[in-house]
Amino acid sequence: MTSNDKLIRTENLNLWYGEKQALYDITLGIIPNKITALIGPSGCGKSTLIRCFNRMNDVIDKCKITGKIFFHEHDIYEPDADAVEVRKKIGMVFQKPNPFPKTIYENVAYGSRVQGITNKSSLDDVVEKSLKNAALWDEVKDRLHESAMGLSGGQQQRLCIARSLSIEPEVILMDEPCSALDPIATAKIEDLMTGLKKKYTVIIVTHNMQQAARVSDYTAYMYLGKMIEFGETDQIFENPKEELTENYITGRFG
């Protein structure tokens, strides 16, 4: 693999929250149109890492980053880079479903609206297409103008996926998207992910190892802020190179 194959690439990424270092020298490459899973015990820095990819850590005070992250070979942390432009290309779905306190329609149309699209028919198109891509359209098409807060947890999470799809990103980051959901809703989201990788590159953080094994093509194992092992999912789960990875996979700790 040459570096050109990688859609997102980190180089010696270090991150501190105030005095506390959370990531150590992460070097990693993400292959396009595949699902990459980040696994590891709680507090290992996997959520922190995924939030670096769309510069979400900018929101947190006292967060300091060194090293580089390349997206299409452009460093997204260089001084001229615009976090907003980055986020338009790299969408994100959060751990807890977080629809806005607005209608279902407005939730999905929000991304287009903030880009200045006001034409009603094109907004309608975007909403319909995104909801269909997120496999939610049939469930909500009759109540688009009701509050999104009235949806079930699984529906809310799919709405959030539809919302992030609405602006046609290249990458979708998912930060433990199923941790607040029941098994049936989780299955639906997992199906959805598999469908999404045709068009998008997906990076998912999970501490559910079965989920990582089920849906991902590549898996990275992190421990105490360090990248321990990265490789194809089958190899990681069946034949891990590092002892730490093996301990975790086999359930000896974590």
Binding site: H72, H74, D82, E85
Partner: protein
């Protein structure tokens, strides 16, 4: 992506220029509009600003009865709750006119001649200055003890010296005050008219020298407040610049005249339009019929 950013930057520059221009237009238009609004307000110092006392003041009641013939004041009269406040506002406001007790005239304001008579103690005493009245102290029933002695003191030659010193008009034919060996103690509370207040305050200080064991408290509040305080028994003496009203009679209050006062008509020192007014002009001004100083200087 780099290309996109460059195009954006060019666009931004153009837009920024547009913004600056539109902001400039807003500011120019805004200021011109605003100055237009303001010009409607009239020129500084030429519009007459009427200053008067609040509706329960003795000075106002006297002015209203004597000068206005009980006709209503102009609605644009601004009320102040003390002589000092009237004086202070007039000294700060170029177009203002106000009325205060003679004692409140100082260098920060200009007192006008009325019917060509200067407002001063001599002219009030001579009876030529037209706007003057008596100042009173009221007690509940006949004054006794410390109350009686204090009123006697103010009415004495010594007390009247303070009256003169404070710029008011003293009583005639007074005699010297004599403690004749009396001692007084306890507290004596005096409250009411702000016109009388400066006299009482000075007199109280001198009185305490004569009777070291006595505490005298002097407070303002206005004639009405003083009269109601004394009739309720919360004060021993009520100071007033007016006589009792019908609602205050029949409460057993006894009247003591302690001095005379001229009412000075004051304007701002910057006022170059007038040096004197007739009573008729004064009435027209306070009725709101004359609203500009220029109409008077013609």
């Amino acid at each position: 992506m780099i290309l996109v950013i460059q195009i954006n930057q060019q666009k931004e520059k153009r837009q920024l220029g547009m913004l600056v221009i539109s902001l400039a237009v807003i500011i120019i238009l805004g200021t011109s509009l605003f100055s237009g609004c303001v010009q409607q307000q009239g020129q500084q110092g030429e519009s007459i600003v009427l200053i008067g006392r609040d509706s329960t003041s003795g000075t106002r009641e006297f002015f209203w009865t004597f000068v206005m013939g009980k006709a209503n004041f102009s609605a644009s009269l601004l009320e102040k709750n003390s002589n000092g406040a009237v004086q202070q506002t007039v000294s700060q406001t170029p177009g203002a006119i106000g009325y205060v007790g003679l004692g409140y005239v100082d260098s920060t304001v200009k007192a006008l001649k009325i019917n060509n008579i200067t407002a001063n103690v001599q002219n009030v005493l001579a009876g030529t200055y037209p706007i003057s009245r008596d100042l009173y102290m009221f007690t509940k029933g006949n004054a006794t003890g410390a109350t009686k002695e204090f009123i006697l003191y103010i009415q004495s030659t010594e007390g009247q010296a303070i009256v003169t010193q404070e710029g008011y008009v003293p009583l005639q034919n007074t005699s010297h005050y004599n403690t004749s060996g009396k001692t007084l103690s306890g507290t004596l509370t005096v409250s009411g008219s702000t016109t009388v207040l400066p006299i009482t305050d000075k007199a109280a200080t001198a009185f305490k020298v004569l009777y070291p064991d006595l505490t005298v408290t002097v407070t303002g509040g206005g004639s009405g407040a003083g009269i109601s305080a004394v009739s309720q028994g919360t004060a021993d003496i009520g100071m007033s610049s007016r006589d009792l009203q019908s609602s205050e009679q029949g409460k057993g209050l006894v009247k003591h005249v302690i001095a005379k006062d001229g009412i000075a008509i004051i304007v701002n020192p910057q006022n170059t339009y007038v040096t004197g007014l007739t009573l008729a002009q004064l009435k027209s001004i306070y009725l709101g019929e004359i609203t500009n100083w220029k109409d008077l200087s013609k």
